[in-house]
Amino acid sequence: MLKFLGLGGVNGAVVIDLRHLQNFQMDRTTWRAKVGGGTLLADLTKRMHDAGNRAMAHGTCPQVGIGGHATIGGLGPSSRLWGAALDHIEEVEVVLADSRIVRASETQNSDIFWAVKGAAASFGIVTEFVVRTEPEPGECVHYSYSFTVGSYATLASTFKSWQKFVSNPNLTRKFASEVIILELGMIISGTYFGSKAEYDKLEVDKKFPGHKDHKTVVFKDWLGLVGHWAEDIALRITGGIPADLFSKSLTFNGADLIPDAAIDRLFSYLDRVKKGTLVWFIIFDLAGGAVNDIAQDATSYAHRDALFYLQSYAVGIGGVSSKTKRFLTGVNAVIRNGMPGEEDFGAYPGYVDPTLVNGPLEYWRTNLPRLQKIKSVVDPRDIFHNPQSVPLAGTPVPTSAPKIPKSRGILGVFLARLCY
């Protein structure tokens, strides 16, 4: 699928780093903001705050950039309230494969606009976004419940309670939540976009008994809360730092929750399996809410039915061992095997998984055929390409995952050193 070697005698592709595209303008009448395509989330938060206490939905990792984030999805704690980051986009300026610079919105170049909102990397380079903003929420509560493990199996019932709680269709959109399972145990945490008094009325305490530690922090200022998100334990370890990384994901639709028996099997698997590293996380992130108000085919983003996502990742030192890869692949297998009728999990395109046999189909699902048609018109030479980008219409369906080049590893370096 991917062959960069031998292209015109030059290896690799051309990377366009957008770091200099930092313009920012807030229209104080419409409260739409123009945002340069190279803006990182931390800067975005700050600039919107300074321009009139405005905000938009996005993820928690401050070093992530809007260019990728807001064009493949962009989920974060406030997504249940406001939608995915891409749901804020009203217009873009985009550089196309034929090097034209065009603007795209619902009313002009609408096909491109549709494709950019979910799959921009295959279609062009967004140099400027025009986004809808929201007033910053007032008082918010960040809560966390931690559980230490004697055995993971003892945590299964807590996880079942969480799934039951978050899958209630009447659950308030102000409630964001994630479960992190890690070497030390399990943490249920999230933000309540409302006052402490309102939060207390939810009686979250009683939903998750057996916690070792319970913390709530009340934030009256938005920047404080967003800063706190970045303190998330998993982000602290992996956020801005390049690492040897292995990651898997699964998407869960509201109609198909994980059966209790499968949850039991998952947690006893965690007790049993050799993990090969101490640095691993299995994260279940609640989604739904406003993201799911939008029709599946209204944007190319294709997970309007997702209730929550699983993302697992492990960090190795000098490479990720096959034991670790087996461990996380096994997590997905245990869950899938426990849900035999469920085939179409799909994969959130922000959790890129190069081992997927047909990545594009899992990322864009029912929207893939239309994306392929637009691709063939807008980028017929497939200039904007990566191993799992939208293929041109008529491309044979892949039968195996793209080949991942092997890194040499520490031993290889050592041998190479001896040879030279």
Binding site: L2, L5, I16, L21, V95, V413
Partner: protein, 189 residues
């Protein structure tokens, strides 16, 4: 802890920070620390060794310094130094080499008005650490060029140069692709 090489170039490195400048010379150098830095070092070495293997200008390598328990390799053809600590330790390297431009490189230079802060090519020392900056170190990437345009017009000009040279293009913002997609990938040589 500064280290003086026989050329008079001084390097230093420290336990904190995953990247930085510690070089007293006119050339850039990177220091990397233990932990994540170890992997950074690997990427650096990987690139350098590949270059040596494929580039005939690198004729001979000799060990110029065996002090401190880590050999210093010097390539006398183009003045590349590579200081290797133990395979498990940090690494430091500098380069004063240069290379010839390709049509792609010339095109990119023109597209960016000749401002050499706005582009980098594989021949640049520290290309992997400074410019490619792979997020997932298990997947090696080696793009043909990394560019830093300042305007949409420059972005468009680079797209044109790449397309004219038959190359793929990927943009990068925060650079957090778990599979390094915003850098392009390359099968192992």
């Amino acid at each position: 802890m500064p280290l003086i090489l026989d050329s008079g170039v001084s390097l230093s490195w420290g336990p904190s920070g995953d990247r930085g400048y510690g070089c007293g010379s006119r050339s850039p150098c990177q220091f990397v620390s233990l932990g994540t830095g170890r992997a950074c070092m690997y990427v650096l070495l990987h690139e350098q060794l590949d270059t040596w293997r494929t580039d005939r200008r690198f004729i001979s390598l000799e060990i110029t310094n065996l002090a401190w328990n880590f050999p210093t390799y010097k390539c006398d053809a183009c003045h590349v130094f590579l200081v290797l600590f133990s395979p498990l330790g940090p690494g430091v390297g500098i380069s004063m080499g240069s290379s010839q431009s390709t049509p792609l490189e010339n095109g990119i230079k023109v597209a960016l008005g000749g401002d050499d802060k706005l582009y980098a090519f594989p021949s640049k020392f520290g290309y992997q650490l400074e410019d490619v900056r792979p997020y997932n170190l298990t997947i090696p990437v080696k793009p043909a060029a990394v560019t830093y345009p300042k305007t949409s017009t420059q972005v468009a000009a680079i797209v044109k140069v790449a397309a004219d040279n038959g190359l793929k293009v990927q943009s990068r913002c925060g650079g957090h692709s778990y599979a390094n997609y915003c850098r392009s990938r390359l099968p192992s040589v």
